[in-house]
């Protein structure tokens, strides 16, 4: 039983890495989602083309391929990244591309009159986004962002294959040391599920708070 506790500590240490990766990945994804989502709505052709290329490229190939590419190929062409960094970057860029479509969809879902009202009030582009469009659009984005964050959490398991010692990696270590398969894999399944429950409940709480005082029709 004592050694069992030791192995469990190992898995918990992996869980910390998983959570770190998820948080950093989500931050990158959040920034990229807004940059590319707003970019796709830009009036400049080049900005739009760049954003579309980014989105289609990262949505078109799988996270797995992107991760391996970042890990094996980027160092060869002179961009050495630590495994952790290339993992976080690949996850963030991948999920960011999905998030960009959410941002675009939510902004377009804000009724036309709201845009027109901003013109009537002589708001500039920044004021329009900051005070009128985003507060309404953001609430619409939240549920899907929550799902994307869970997808990102699930994606972190893949980084174990490029030698990052996340939870899945540690479970493999425990498996190869003890020969026991049920304990490590069952416990990480449960921990992953608990983290994803945490994400979905906190997003729901945030949604309730932010939608107070807003008269938005739920999409």
């Amino acid at each position: 039983m004592a050694e069992w506790a030791g192995y469990f500590t190992l898995i918990l240490k992996g869980a910390v890495t998983t959570v770190e990766l998820t948080l950093i990945g989500c931050t990158i994804a959040f920034i990229m989602a807004f940059a590319a989502g707003l970019g796709r709505l830009s009036t400049h052709f080049t900005v739009r083309a760049l954003a579309t290329t980014y989105i289609e490229f990262f949505r078109g190939t799988s996270i797995f391929v992107q991760l391996f590419w970042a890990f094996f190929v980027l160092p060869l062409i002179g961009i050495p990244l630590s495994p952790f960094l290339s993992g976080a970057l690949a996850l963030g860029l991948n999920v960011g591309a999905y998030g960009a479509e959410v941002v675009r969809g939510a902004i377009m879902a804000v009724p036309r009159e709201q845009h027109e009202a901003c013109v009537a009030l002589n708001f500039n582009a920044w004021q329009k986004m900051r005070y009128v469009i985003l507060p309404q659009a953001f609430v619409l984005m939240l549920p899907t962002f929550g799902n994307n964050a869970i997808e990102l959490l699930k994606g972190t398991a893949v980084v174990s294959l490029i030698s990052i010692s996340d939870m899945t990696f540690q479970a493999q270590v425990v498996r190869s040391q003890t020969g026991d398969t049920t304990m490590p894999f069952l416990s990480i399944l449960i921990i992953y599920f608990m983290i994803s429950l945490l994400i979905s409940t906190s997003i729901r709480g945030l949604e309730r708070r932010l939608s107070q005082g807003l008269d938005v029709t739920k999409a």
Binding site: F64, L76, L161, A171, T181, T182, Y192, S200
Partner: protein
């Protein structure tokens, strides 16, 4: 590191072998997930509260945990229980179970979108349960499901490289074995990306057309 075209051409046949396995896994996984998803959707409509809650929890659990870990679970734990699966079969079952949690949601949404008036009208016409489903509900519910299902099959296709972790010799694994053999990573890894784009970009275009064709007209 320079791109070597001769090397790229040389490894192409081996990668093509991998593509075939990748497509097979996707097709079989799609079928499993469609059938299993239907089972979930039916069980979740059960009148028994306990069955409903339990199946909801199962679906949430499948959706909330990584496919890779589920694959490991199938691949490493089932043999302990005396069930020996070939890597590809384990992979197809894993993909199918994972995506059934998503297809179940598609079925549910499709059925819930049928307005109450349709159910009432069926009742008013004295149709029995079977007639109601076959003649009233299914024809209306299936149309909007098609693009949504296709969407998940494309994402399933993009997740098949995970099968390489349980030793299925699909595209990614072929590329890795080429790379480990020749110490050249640039071409194999890039070609994997190119293959995925070659298949997924036309699929996405096809999907957009499906969406337009099966879009709800009202």
């Amino acid at each position: 590191m320079e791109w070597d075209w001769a090397f790229t051409l040389k490894i192409l046949p081996q990668l093509a072998d991998g593509v075939v396995i990748t497509i097979q896994a996707t097709l079989m996984g799609s079928i499993v997930s469609m059938l299993l998803g239907l089972c979930w959707a039916i069980v979740r409509r059960s009148k028994n509260v306990f069955t409903r809650r339990a199946s909801n929890l199962c679906v949430e659990f499948i959706r909330g945990t990584p496919l890779l870990v589920q694959l490991y679970f199938l691949f490493y734990i089932l043999p302990d229980a005396g069930i020996l699966l070939s890597p590809l079969v384990a992979g197809v079952i894993g993909l199918g179970i994972h995506y059934s949690a998503y297809t179940a949601e598609v079925y549910r949404a499709g059925i819930d979108n049928i307005s109450a008036g349709q159910w009432e009208a069926a009742k008013a016409c004295n149709l029995n349960a079977r007639q109601t489903w076959i003649h009233i509900i299914a024809p209306q519910a299936i149309r909007p499901m098609i693009p949504a299902l296709a969407n998940y099959f494309i994402s399933m296709f993009k997740e098949t490289p995970l099968l390489s972790a349980i030793t299925v010799l699909e595209l990614m694994n072929q590329a890795r074995s080429v790379a480990n053999f020749s110490y050249r990573y640039l071409e194999p890894m890039t070609m994997v990306g190119v293959f995925f784009l070659i298949i997924s970009v036309p699929s996405v275009i096809f999907l957009r057309r499906l969406e337009r064709r099966y879009a709800l007209s009202d």
